[in-house]
Amino acid sequence: MTLEYDVVIVGAGPAGSITAKFAAENGASVLMIEKRQEIGSPVRCGEGIARYWIESVGIPLDKKWIAYEVEGAKIVSPNGTEFCIDERHAGEEVGTVIERDLFDKALARHAAKAGAEIMLKSTVVGLLKDNGKVTGVRVDQMGKRFDVKAGCVVGADGFESQVGRWGGIDTTLKAKDITTCFQYRMTDINPDPNYCEFILGTEAPGGYVWVFPKGKDTANVGLGMQLSKVREKGDPKKYLDMYIESDERFKNGKILDMVCGAVSISAPLDQTVTDGLILVGDAARMIDAITGGGIANACRAGKVAGEVLAKCVKEKDFSAERLQEYEKGWRAQIEERLYRDWMAKEKLVTLSNETFDKIIATLAEVGVEKLNVYNILKVIEAKHPELVEEFADLL
């Protein structure tokens, strides 16, 4: 007997679980397939998220998965100049530092409560197709191989996503559009307990070092660097080790956890749907190219996806045309900012330490009401017009 569902979701991260929740809540039969043996673990994340967007994706804030709360963001330039901004205006990654493994499990629980089925330790190894239309998935599960038929397959399989490429959607990234990351959770250190910290400059070529506190003496200390700037194998870990060595605050640090991972810092894809298939979250390259944060966008797109898929189920239509409602829906919410931040990133990765110093000093002096590329450029333009010349098309 072949299993059959209206919607089969590959990956039980935030994108998968929110899609599952909204599809199931609105009447679809849903199966979510996850290859790991435990949802959310091992953690591959800096764990910073803002408070303000969570409830808009149908998830109540819950102390169980909030590790720590900060006042805002602190951005540090290469010469040590600091610029601080209140969490309400500091973007989508700043406000709380979460326990990401508990967070992902909480989202999966919401999906299950809405009626979605979940399979763990089950790897999707390929797509079923009929006349070019995606009709299901092939699964390896603890020594068994079987097929699951679906009205629509959802690729929520994260950065590593293969589902899109198997289904004919080109999600290939250029080296300049990838950030490779290494992180330690360290304890017995002295992070600034009031801020999520972002440290800019050549210590993290084309990226930054982050220090996100998880308590007064514990923090996620990580580094991301642009893949095109990697010279030797293992550079991300080497650069992070060098940075930690250079910062007094980490002198006595002990390591509780190690994290590897990569994020896309690309422009949004041209296409995220095809007949019988949609992509959501990191699989659809929805990460912000400046911050590298993607949880908020994965959840927002997941909500749109789930709602649209439930309608498609009622109409029994999963054609690419019908799925345009999803394509348009997620773009209306996040595409413009994704594109603008990608354009800005293309310039930012070329700046010298001295230019970062000037920019941060100007922000620290003049202030900026809400942290986004446009506001930052406006503030700098007033003082150092020469610095923003290259960014003119963004103003």
Partner: protein, 68 residues
Amino acid sequence: MGVTVSDSGLMEVDTSLCMHCGACVGTCPRNSIFLNEVIITFDDSCNQCGLCVRVCPIGAIDKPEGAE
């Protein structure tokens, strides 16, 4: 070659370093890498371009000895 290195003939993976994060899978321009929870395999479409070697945050992947 260290005792923990598994060599498919295409690429070598040091299994004592690999943290199964999938950075290489998402980066591979030919979609040649597969990660079955914790086991990485390369298929014949791999042309040893070396992007996986550079993207791996911990340096677990290398070309086999003798490869360009």
